[in-house]
Amino acid sequence: MTTITSTASAGAAGGAGTAAPAAADRSPLRRGLLRWLFVAPALAYMALFFGYPLIRNILMSFQHYTPKTYFTGEAPFNGLDNWRNVFANELFSDSLWHTALFTVGSLLGQFTIGLALAVFFSRRFRLSGFVRAILLLPWLVPMVVSAVVWRRILDQDHGMLNSALHAVGLVSQDGVPWLNSPSVALLSAVLVNIWIGIPFNMVILYGGLQEIPRELYEAASLDGSSAWRTFRSITLPMLRPVVTVVLVLGFMSTVKILDLILALTSGGPADSTQTLGTVTYQLSFLQLDFGQGAVVGNVLILISAVFAVLYLRANRADFGKGK
């Protein structure tokens, strides 16, 4: 890195023939300045587009921020009022619990099925590329479109799923109240989200599998290792860094879920599918209480931040091992 910087500063000095002693003279200051210059655009970008909104959002959660604010520009600070109101709201604790269930359920399902499919497709066979491409479809379809289609599939009276289950004798004429019962609706939302998340998990894990050296498998088969043993002792450990990436990215996109729920159930029936995302939306954009909405938004950011830190630590540990 030192070489790069000094070459750059020599170039910047105008390429005068006898620049060498002069450059050595000014170099510590110049070098420092130049380093900052290189970093500055990135810093400015981060501060403007990430730092500013983040700080505004935190401030907003301590303000009485209503439609009036937009007209007058005044948003009086109200201490912990917003936080108290939100935490006293039963809907908030319910939605926290729903969000946890939704996230854990979705990740478990997406990851297990995604990994199984990735392993399956890592052996080459006829049409494997074609089938893999088809499996990517849920990823390409806009979330709202998926939700609308699933609403039809999950309809209790005329939905395809109930008809199919009834045809094979698994359910009675009444069918399963997929989206109509508060005790089933969250599960249905999880199932739909698993379907949506499988391609992402499959693609990344498939990529990870390709990185594992073939020789390891050959050595294992020479040692007479069973398929399960090979998977446990070679595939999983070698895949670990990729697994962390998939799970953390999956977590972050799942925990803030909004569009799928709004299009599928609007948070119902009887608030059984309200998540932190839908509660923020409701507070900020339906009740126009932006201060309270910001509180829930901050809780979401905090949860994501905790996992981002865990992710960084896990990654650092992997680098430490000198992978």
Partner: protein
């Protein structure tokens, strides 16, 4: 140093989703509007929800008709209906609000409360001769800020063939409604369909029953709202209405009706174009059934109102906007507009003419005279109250609570939200 760039890259990647969440949570509230160009002097701008091309063009014809004689060019800015309020707020924060703001009636109090709207009387908008319900739709705290060209409400729309076959007249009371719905249910057809979704659609459809039964949005647990909850619960429990009503918005209800899966439905006049375009189902409109014979139906009144934001720098623009509003609301223009959007004009005389000229939709014209505005009593508290009501009918329909408990809890929620 190969690990160094690698590490910075992962760190940046990890931060992006976290911060993106922050960004998503606050961008809309921050008001990232573009710079507002200074408006041309002889134009009047309107923010509305006419994103549908046909509606946009129809609207423009009326605006041009009114603007030209005044030497004004009227321009529309149209965004989807559920984004009008947040768009207007962003415009307000960058001092670029349009000269006329067309809001949903239920959103008006939130804007009137900001003191950013001009009372219509102050700028010479003629507000006399309108139906009382239309006046209350545009008013906040006794002052009129918004004017409605036309309004809608809800009625009972029924499949004439199915009712004739079953030998029944359209029900007028709740008892008749239950009996008729039961009799009309059979095969894949339910007797009755309504929207009980946990959002504005479901709440709008619950109100005609809640209010007609004596329910009060300012005192949800006054002991009179339970009857409406019980009626909805009975319809679903009897199998006369699908259990899916808790998920149906008003569009879904119409789809069911058009597909022949419901003999009767609650819906509004905005469905008329779809209903008229299909040949499968013959339909007619009747009034909303009431708890007992002789009582008045009290449906909600809906629709948009036009308001004029204050413009400190340029009072001439406010006056121009007022002139356009006066022209849009002449009896003749209201009547023509009402016919083009199947809504009922708000001038009493125009409403009468509308009822005579459109016998098929006369029930709506009739209902509008007794209809009530959602915000007349609770004003800016409506979003919280509406939400509490949605919670009540959803928990009753899914069997979680009794009607009494549900309304008791709803009142607690509504009071806590104040």
């Amino acid at each position: 140093m190969p690990s160094h760039p690698g590490r910075t890259r992962t760190r940046a990647r990890a931060h992006i989703p976290v911060l993106a969440a922050a960004l998503a949570a606050s961008t809309a509230a921050l008001g990232l509007t573009g710079c507002a160009a200074k408006p041309e002097p002889d134009t009047v701008t309107v923010l509305n929800s006419a994103t549908d091309t046909a509606e946009h063009n129809a609207n423009q014809r009326f605006l041009d008709r009114c603007g030209k004689p005044l030497g004004l060019r009227v321009e529309q800015i149209s965004v989807p209906a559920d984004q009008v309020a947040s768009k207007a707020l962003r415009m307000a924060s960058s001092d670029s609000l349009t000269d006329i703001l067309e809001l949903d009636g239920s959103e008006l109090p939130q804007f009137a409360q900001t003191e950013g709207l001009r009372p219509l009387k102050d700028i010479g908008v003629d507000t006399a001769g309108f139906s009382a319900s239309a006046t209350s739709l545009g008013s906040y705290d006794g002052t009129q800020y918004g004017i409605a060209r036309s309004v809608n409400s809800l009625a009972l729309i029924y499949n004439t063939d199915l009712l004739k076959k079953a030998g029944i007249e359209p029900p007028t009371t709740w008892a008749e409604l239950k009996a008729a719905a039961k009799k009309l249910t059979g095969g894949s057809t339910y007797g009755m369909a309504f929207s009980a979704s946990p959002n504005a659609d479901g709440v709008y459809q619950f109100l005609p029953f809640f209010w007609s039964g004596g329910g009060d949005e300012a005192a949800l647990d006054n002991g009179k709202g339970e009857a409406a909850l019980q009626l909805w619960k009975d319809l679903v429990a009897d199998g006369s209405a699908s259990k899916s009503v808790v998920n149906w918005n008003q569009q879904d209800v119409n789809d069911q009706f058009v597909a022949g899966r419901a003999a009767m439905m609650i819906n509004g006049p905005w469905q008329v174009p779809v209903l008229s375009a299909q040949k499968k189902v013959d339909w007619a409109v009747a009034s909303i059934p009431v708890p007992e014979a002789g009582k008045d139906a009290v449906p909600p009144i809906g629709g948009t109102v036009m308001a004029v934001p204050k413009n400190g720098e340029d009072p001439v623009r406010e006056r121009n906007a007022a002139k356009v509003l006066n022209c849009l609301n002449t009896e003749k223009n209201q009547l023509q507009w009402g016919e083009s959007v199947n809504n009922v004009p708000t001038r009493a005389a125009a409403a009468q003419a509308y009822g005579l000229q459109n016998p098929k939709l006369a029930a709506f014209a009739e209902l509008v005279t007794t209809a009530r505005s959602r915000t007349a009593k609770v004003g800016t508290g409506w979003p919280v109250v509406g939400d509490a009501l949605a919670g009540a009918f959803q928990s009753v329909l899914t069997g979680r609570t009794s009607p009494e408990q549900a309304l008791h809890r709803a009142q607690q929620q509504a009071s806590a939200g104040k």
